[in-house]
């Protein structure tokens, strides 16, 4: 069975499928409960508003199957950008509860420094990462990734496997058991994203 990219009506689904295709990995974009229930890996994509994302997941009847796959079967899950923030318990974006798979929160960027960094945080950044972690294996040079977000997840070493500084340090990759999330867009980060998605796709 191949990788399922969950289509909950938001997110740049095609871009992720494109990059997996370039890696020679088959993937399916679907919102079909049966298809998702057969997945052995799940990607929850990004690009969208938190409230709309959770509303769609519930209205499309995907909540039960996602909980089953992530929490009971414990298959590898990768959330990307908004998909990472949905893994948390709550977001300040619309004051909405998330999937609550990782006990963290999504907060709005507020800066009190002068000059204030612009929001959204948009652009490329060098990340600090746990080099021993399987998601980051194979980087010969300092990896950089593309970010585009207005909300962030605190830096907490208990769950963070990578972090980045924009105004202050925050989590840009988190992990709890089988569940992972990245704030940046690997599917839009050239060779650095290819390596990361290869690592996820080949994880047994």
């Amino acid at each position: 069975m191949s990788i399922v990219i969950v289509n909950y009506g938001l997110g740049n689904l095609a871009a992720i499928k494109n990059m997996l295709c370039k890696l020679g990995r088959e993937s399916i974009i679907t919102s079909d409960v049966d298809m998702i229930s057969k997945a052995n890996k799940i990607i929850i994509p990004g690009v969208g508003a938190f409230g709309k994302g959770m509303e769609n997941i519930k209205n499309m009847g995907l909540l039960d199957v996602l909980n089953q796959k992530a929490l009971k079967e414990k298959i590898p899950v990768l959330g990307i950008c908004l998909g990472m923030q949905l893994l948390t318990s709550h977001s300040e974006e619309g004051n909405v509860n998330g999937l609550n798979w990782i006990p963290m929160q999504s907060k709005k960027f507020v800066f009190d420094t002068v000059p204030k960094p612009t929001v959204p945080h948009m652009g490329w950044a060098d990340i600090e990462y746990k080099s021993s972690h399987w998601l980051f294996k194979g980087y010969a040079e300092q990896p950089r990734f593309y970010f585009a977000h207005s909300y962030y997840i605190n830096y907490d070493p208990a769950f963070a496997i990578a972090s980045v500084v924009y105004g202050f340090r925050f989590s840009c990759a988190i992990e709890y058991e089988n569940i992972l999330g990245v704030q940046f867009h690997p599917e839009k980060s050239h060779k650095f994203g290819l390596t990361l998605l290869h690592n996820f796709a080949t994880r047994s």
Partner: protein, 255 residues
């Protein structure tokens, strides 16, 4: 190290890639998909693709071409041209494009910006502002590919766009377009002082020194250029090019 995005801007007319001077005299460059493949291999930070005929011809985006371009992009891509409805914006996001760029439709229907921002987040919606200076030196916004004069000035337009929900502004000086004589630093500075979203500078970029000046003197978050990345030397020699990572790192080291 602070990384400031360096963005090639590709102009579409029909199925071809063109470059203008002062929004006029479009010069045929080549096949857009081929150009994007080359930019992808060069590892560019991001690309912006603008269909410069769509709004003037009162037609929607060319979805097939956008899809073909997006499938070659392993970097972020913004698309603008002819987007007037939420349905069109959704379709473009679904093709693998991260950002939709709205220009002419913003004046008629600023609610479109809010609607896209609510559904896709403000990082997904860019408002582009084209402006030209009158003989008296007053800057006016123009829409419909620079053919329709608006009553607004670019600074006010920028503020309105951010209030409507734009997550980024793409500012083009029509006077500077294609001239390779450097960016309009005073105007860009006025805009960055008034808004707290990323501003992309466009129009007039010729070399890394221009990038350095516009970043340090006007406070923009990203630099965009057309001619610089499609011509080598004069206008007759077309060559898709992009600075090497070493050159870019030298620029970053000075910021």
């Amino acid at each position: 190290m602070r990384r400031v995005r360096i963005i090639p801007v590709l102009l579409l007319k029909g199925n071809g890639l063109f470059k203008t001077i002062g929004f006029k005299t479009p010069n045929y460059i080549g096949d857009p998909i081929n150009a994007v493949k080359i930019f992808n291999e060069k590892g560019v930070d991001e690309i912006v693709v603008l269909d410069i005929d769509a709004s003037i011809e009162m037609r929607g985006p060319n979805f097939k071409l956008i899809e073909d371009i997006a499938s070659e992009c392993f970097m972020p891509m913004g698309y603008g041209g002819g987007i007037t409805t939420m349905e069109q914006a959704r379709k473009i996001f679904n093709l693998g494009v991260e950002k939709v760029i709205i220009n002419s439709a913003f004046e008629k229907n600023s609610g479109l910006i809010s609607q896209i921002a609510q559904e896709y987040g403000s990082q997904g919606v860019v408002v582009s502002i084209d402006y030209k200076k009158s003989l008296l030196g007053l800057a006016h916004v123009y829409t419909l590919g620079g053919t329709q004069k608006s009553k607004n000035n670019p600074v006010n337009q920028a503020k309105l766009a951010v209030n409507a929900g734009a997550g980024e502004l793409f500012i083009t000086s029509m006077d500077k377009d294609g001239t390779r004589k450097g960016y309009d630093l005073p105007m860009l500075k006025k805009i960055t002082l008034e808004v707290n979203v990323p501003v992309i500078a466009c129009g007039g970029g010729n070399d890394m020194e221009d990038f350095y000046r516009v970043i340090t003197e006007s406070g923009v978050s990203a630099v965009a250029a057309g001619s610089m990345f499609v011509y080598k030397g004069d206008i007759d020699s077309i060559l898709i090019n992009y600075p090497s990572q070493e050159e870019i790192n030298k620029l970053y080291a000075r910021l």
